[in-house]
Symmetry: C2
Subunit: 208 residues, 2 copies
DNA sequence: TGTGTAAGTAAGTGACTACTTGCATTTCTT
DNA sequence: AAGAAATGCAAGTAGTCACTTACTTACACA
């Protein structure tokens, strides 16, 4: 493993455990199996290192995608919600730390908000497409609906460990349950609807 | 103002701005207009002071209450949601910090989770009461529904400042909008229903 | 007037922090 | 094999941190 990458990974790990102030260069060096000096020669300063580590992390973060043409909303949204939730849970420590430090270090904000921003956009587009298909019967505001589902998933991922009795059991089904509540609020009926040939082709083009 | 209270208030404020590691005894003493030594004589250590400040804070936190007998769900839930959201927004800094530090200082957890725990309980009870009145027509799981509304409110209070375009506008109406989405998911129809005499009496008894 | 208590002042302790310098060693490239 | 670049080691700098000690001041109450 490259020394540079080892340092970046160690910095991310230590930051997730101890936050910025608790991420001493010594701790990071030890975690990376590297001399403390090497950090300064590679990155110049602790601040530059942490910044680089955060960017390196968000760049490597993949997010599941929703189809452009909805076919089976409950299934598609559930899969997507589950993958989003898994991502949040996997990174819950670093997310909590970043949220706590964002007021003192606003430059972290751009980095930290990228994933939820994209998630919100993707979800809104999907819901608008559903509406265009005439499958949303209720009066409807995409951002409100999206904020509810994403908010529920986010809070679950952040808070379940601290207060498990506040959330539905088991945690593996939570994303599915939230999704169903949302779909019921929108008046979307269960079951899939076959996409037309034309739609299928277009969807395949777009997904490449 | 009592010196002790001044120190507690200053500690809470400094902690909200800088977190535990950033809350130096000097900063707290300056903010309280008190000599640094006084802190150690009064509280023994920085850790004890911060703990005392957190407890002092949660004790003084009031939460709006929901009626035992639902009458006008949309109005009652909206008022309650708005008050809960206002509370979260008011304390967003300290909540974010506490969430970030909870893994390093688990004893903060009991303190931090008290308010959301009570909120979740209150909301679940209210929803169950609604169900018992036969006003929830859909298949229904109280905790899931509660987690969705509370999650949306929590995420809004924590995240709107960072990424306002992810949330419904204007922010003053957000709590109302989330509430309406939830009620639609539960199949609760609009409008109030008069409580019977019997119910009214019982509700009055319980609220004392 | 004397006494106890809470507060302030001044100085300092030992541990830790980010970061630097000088020099020896390893590793990679050519 | 030769030169260059990356890395390690030892030592040190200037600053901050929580916390202590020894002594002084202000005030309440008896």
């Amino acid at each position: 493993m490259n020394h540079r990458d080892a340092i970046l990974a160690a910095a991310a790990g230590v930051f997730a455990q101890h936050g910025f102030r608790g991420s001493t260069t010594r701790r990071i060096a030890d975690a990376a199996g590297v001399n403390e000096i090497t950090i300064f020669r590679q990155f110049g300063s602790k601040e530059a290192l942490i910044r680089a580590a955060m960017q390196h992390l968000t760049q490597s973060a993949g997010l599941a995608t929703l189809p452009d043409i909805p076919s089976d909303p409950e299934r598609e949204l559930t899969v997507w919600s589950e993958s989003f939730m898994q991502h949040l849970r996997l990174h819950s420590s670093i997310i909590r730390k970043t949220m706590g430090e964002i007021e003192e270090r606003p430059e972290m904000g751009e980095c930290a908000t990228e994933v939820p921003r994209r998630a919100s956009n993707d979800l809104c587009h999907y819901l608008v497409a559903l509406k265009r298909q005439g499958r949303i019967t209720e009066k409807f505001e995409a951002k409100t609906a999206a904020a509810m589902l994403l908010g529920a998933i986010f809070s679950d991922a952040m808070g379940r460990e601290m207060m498990p009795e506040n959330f539905p059991q088991p945690k593996e089904k939570a994303a599915h349950m939230y999704t169903r509540v949302l779909l019921r609020a929108l008046g979307v009926e269960n079951g899939s609807r076959k996409a037309t040939n034309k739609q299928t082709k277009r969807s395949k083009q777009l997904s490449n």
